[in-house]
Symmetry: C2
């Protein structure tokens, strides 16, 4: 590109598409809905149900969960405390890239450590990070044990299993606490949607 072009590039860069442009086009803010809770607490189910609702309303969405992250971006990580921290850090950074792209990104990871969730919160601008605690109790999650993971953890076949051999630190200031141990899925979705309406994140 010639000298002249380089000058025009500079002008051009002032016109780079930015987050505000994307949000104006999409008709809604980019935010992250960060679902946290024990294995079996309903994070993945609830996040996908909320996404479906949002998508039907015309909101631009995506879900990050173990299915599309643990084998890809974080395929090099195990389940030690250090590896889990790095997993959450990367998911946090990727969620920011989606928010900057004007998208509502829903993440479904146990994310057991308060400090790690705080690190992700601080990556984001105020109001962009919405922590949603799926508050089913260990007893409830273990009694469901849909994937048989709790049984294996109790037998020592799985190490560092949250709730059994590794701690889960309950959120102290989650924007939304959903009692997924007793609410139906529809009720849980409604609770999340109510927050999003009440805070002007999406419009009915």
């Amino acid at each position: 590109m010639s000298e002249q072009q380089k000058s025009s590039n500079v002008v051009w860069h002032e016109g780079e598409v930015n987050r505000a442009d994307r949000e104006a086009k999409n008709g809604h803010k980019g935010v992250v809905l960060w679902f946290t809770g024990l294995s079996g607490s309903g994070k993945s189910t609830l996040s996908h149900a909320v996404e479906n609702k949002l998508f039907q309303m015309g909101v631009h969405t995506t879900v990050l969960d173990g299915d599309n992250v643990r084998h890809g971006l974080c395929g090099d990580l195990g389940f030690s405390d250090v590896a889990r921290r790095e997993n959450i850090r990367r998911v946090g950074e990727v969620s920011k890239l989606f928010v900057d792209a004007g998208i509502v990104v829903l993440t479904a990871f146990i994310s057991p450590f308060r400090e790690d969730r705080q690190v992700v919160r601080k990556l984001h601008q105020a109001g962009d990070f919405i922590e949603i605690y799926c508050a089913a109790s260990l007893e409830t999650c273990e009694s469901r044990d849909v994937k048989g993971l709790y049984k294996r953890a109790r037998q020592g076949e799985i190490k560092n299993f949250t709730g059994i051999s590794s701690p889960y630190e309950v959120p102290e200031k989650a924007e939304i606490t959903v009692d997924t141990g007793s609410l139906s899925l529809d009720e849980s979705v409604q609770q999340v949607m109510h927050y999003l309406y009440a805070n002007g994140i999406v419009i009915k």
Copy 2:
């Protein structure tokens, strides 16, 4: 969530929003436009100019480049060969997450190693990965030296600098080769757009 809800969850999961849904809503495919080339070859400028054009047309886009990745997702990585490989691998995985979200993602990284670009290509479905070689020569890039990096690399202040102390492996089968050493920015954008029209990735 009750047993009944769990059953309905199973049904529900069949209705998860998928890539085809997102693409139908957006009115275009998700693809990655992978810009590669030497430092100063115009990757970042061209990718942002193409994004601007696409965005004005109503296409849902985002750009991944050093500005939003190197300090965030890949902030733990340096510039050794191993670290560069990991950088490109992560960017490749994130580009896939955006493609799955139905977005046209433009990436602007030197990505000097053929094998690494091949790894990213293989992550994607056929047709989703469009390699765009910004083919300005080393002589041209070094003579521009907008950021003074080549000078510093020649003086040994920057190690592993592509083109000087670390190789750049020219793409053998790039979908698009843009002669950014002599074309204007407008001409370069037009060449990329022509490919996207001709291959039905976006519609005029």
